[in-house]
């Protein structure tokens, strides 16, 4: 068990030390795992001097906005699919189709989306990313929320409807409070996926104003002189939200990531 933990975490720890080591320590050979004086100069360098702060902000805005949109649109659709029986066995077909869009290799839609955004003059805008990420997250939201809704007994909703509530009202007042944990877990998944996303951001944004954090980091890494301290500092900050989320949600993650096939 301990070896497994070390195996998983040691490389990340290594990167963290690089971000905290002064340049002298970094190029020492062999470089130390523990005995060095930490410095925050790379963090300052990255976020204040070199503009990674802007990438961070863009990532945050795009992730939150697309998650919200996906949640609203997806939860509505999920509710309908869970509670209404549509003709021609549409429920099953729609669900499977929605799931299948998640199986697409990203590059397949990235190329035409680039061309479409270019024609719409939406390249290098946050809006294009928000819209694309919403579409990206939507199948997952629908799949997850449908499962949560289906697990819910109907009695409370039926009672509300008998009492004269509208469908939407019943949804809001009765059902949503009951699925809040599921909603929260789904929201965090979407945030993680949007925050980490790379290919679409790479394709759709090339300017500093529009780049997300992953693209910003990648852009500097693939250039000639790589400042590893700065890179590590940026990467360290990029992974902090993820760690927080992983810890908070580890109970739900296995279930979510295996599409509900396996209860964690």
């Amino acid at each position: 068990m301990i070896p497994a933990l070390l195996f998983a975490l040691a490389p990340v720890y290594w990167m963290l030390t690089i971000s905290l080591k002064s340049d002298v320590d970094q190029f020492a050979s062999p470089p130390p795992w523990f005995g060095f004086t930490p410095t925050l100069e790379h963090y300052y360098d990255a976020f204040v001097t070199r503009g990674f702060g802007q990438y961070l902000l863009t990532s945050a805005i795009v992730s939150v906005a697309s998650t919200l949109c996906a949640l609203v649109i997806g939860t509505l659709a999920a509710y309908a699919l869970a509670r209404f029986e549509l003709p021609w066995r549409l429920n099953r077909h729609l669900s499977l189709w929605i799931l299948s869009t998640r199986m697409f290799p990203a590059i397949v839609t990235a190329v035409p989306l680039f061309l479409m955004m270019r024609d719409l003059r939406l390249l290098n805008t946050r809006a294009s990313l928000i819209v694309v990420y919403t579409a990206f997250n939507l199948p997952f939201v629908v799949w997850m929320m449908r499962g949560f809704f289906a697990d819910l007994p109907r009695d409370l909703e039926e009672a509300a409807l008998v009492d004269g509530d509208s469908r939407l009202g019943a949804l809001r007042r009765v059902v949503l409070p009951l699925v809040t944990p599921g909603l929260a877990a789904t929201a965090v998944f979407c945030l993680i996926v949007s925050w980490n996303e790379f290919l679409f951001a790479l394709v759709l944004t090339q300017t500093d104003a529009a780049m997300t954090l992953p693209v910003g980091i990648a852009g500097r890494v693939t250039q000639y002189e790589i400042k590893w301290g700065v890179m590590s500092a940026a990467a360290a900050v990029a992974l902090v939200p993820i760690l927080v989320f992983a810890l908070a949600l580890q109970k739900y993650l296995v279930r979510g990531l295996s599409l509900g096939a396996v209860k964690g």
Partner: protein, 298 residues
């Protein structure tokens, strides 16, 4: 009053309206951003620029069969997928079987194991470029401490070792996922089959093959499906680690499509290749799902 199985069945036209309104936005988003791009992609893959303007032709597709780069990229992708999948599966299964007991500090353990796969792929790339750096990376540093000569071990810069390196990174990142899914599957198996097997005098090996494995099939299939899909379309980590290099050594199909579209601006050809990739992943996932459904029925 008899309860109907669903709230509404589709008898009355009026009663479709509400669900239709609920589902419409989602459908609109997906149709415009997932389906329409595909159609757009088909149209550009069937066109080529000539001096007289754009012409409808299968040229992009026929070009595939003679394009060595394409075929090599496909080969690389398959090798990558098969090797990584085997390692991840065997390691994950082995660990799950070994650690199949009530663990203490379970939440923290699980959260820690999930870190590698939750990281942004860019961060994974940075982490491992640091680890694998021939001069001041931790790996070579540790090897040197044991007296091993690391001069030829340039990992991601070495044509011979690059593919191995990127596969190893993938194994590092995703074995925990396989482990966790299979572990959850194992722990969901009830006691009765094992007890029955014991009473029948079954050996440990027999129990494993005839009791554990069949009951684990759904988890195994889903994890294999998910990993296969991800491995075939891999892009991010390889882009950061090697950019497909050195030379063409680690170029997978997604990378080649990206390069064709965004370095050579040959969008039609890139679109044609995307469709081959899409068809491939479709076929494979259908095969897996058939297996999965056969298992549930049987």
């Amino acid at each position: 009053m008899p309860k109907s199985r669903r709230f509404f069945s589709a008898q009355n036209r009026r009663e479709w309206l509400l669900p239709a309104i609920f589902i419409a936005p989602a459908l609109a988003v997906l149709l415009s951003l997932s389906i329409y791009p595909l159609i757009y992609s088909i149209t550009i893959s069937l066109q080529q620029e000539t001096s007289g303007g754009a012409v409808w032709t299968f040229g992009n597709f026929t070009r595939l069969t003679s394009d060595n780069f394409f075929l090599t990229a496909m080969a690389h992708t398959f090798v990558y997928a098969v090797v990584a999948l085997s390692c991840e599966f065997l390691l994950g299964l082995g660990l799950a079987l070994l650690l199949n007991s009530k663990l203490r500090g379970r939440g923290l353990f699980r959260a820690s194991l999930l870190v590698p796969m939750m990281l942004p792929s860019v961060v994974v790339g940075v982490v491992w470029r640091l680890m694998l750096n021939p001069d001041f990376g931790a790996l070579n540093g540790t090897l040197r401490r044991f007296g091993i000569n690391t001069e030829s071990l340039t990992w991601t810069a070495s044509p011979k070792l690059a593919m191995l390196s990127v596969i190893a990174v993938d194994v590092w990142q995703w074995t925990p996922f396989v482990f966790l899914v299979l572990l959850a599957g194992l722990q969901a198996i009830p006691e009765e089959p094992y007890e029955a097997a014991l009473i029948d005098g079954s050996s440990r090996r027999q129990t494993f093959w005839h009791v554990t494995l069949p009951l684990l099939k759904p988890s195994i299939l889903i994890v294999l499906l998910l990993r296969t899909m991800d491995l075939l379309r891999v892009f991010d980590q390889i882009f950061i680690l090697t950019e497909g290099g050195p030379g063409f050594a680690t170029e997978t199909i997604s990378l080649y499509i990206y390069r064709t579209a965004f370095r050579f601006f040959d969008f039609g050809y890139a679109a044609a290749m995307s469709f081959v990739l899409l068809a491939l992943t479709n076929v494979i996932s259908v095969v897996y799902i058939k297996f999965l459904q056969a298992k549930e029925a049987g």
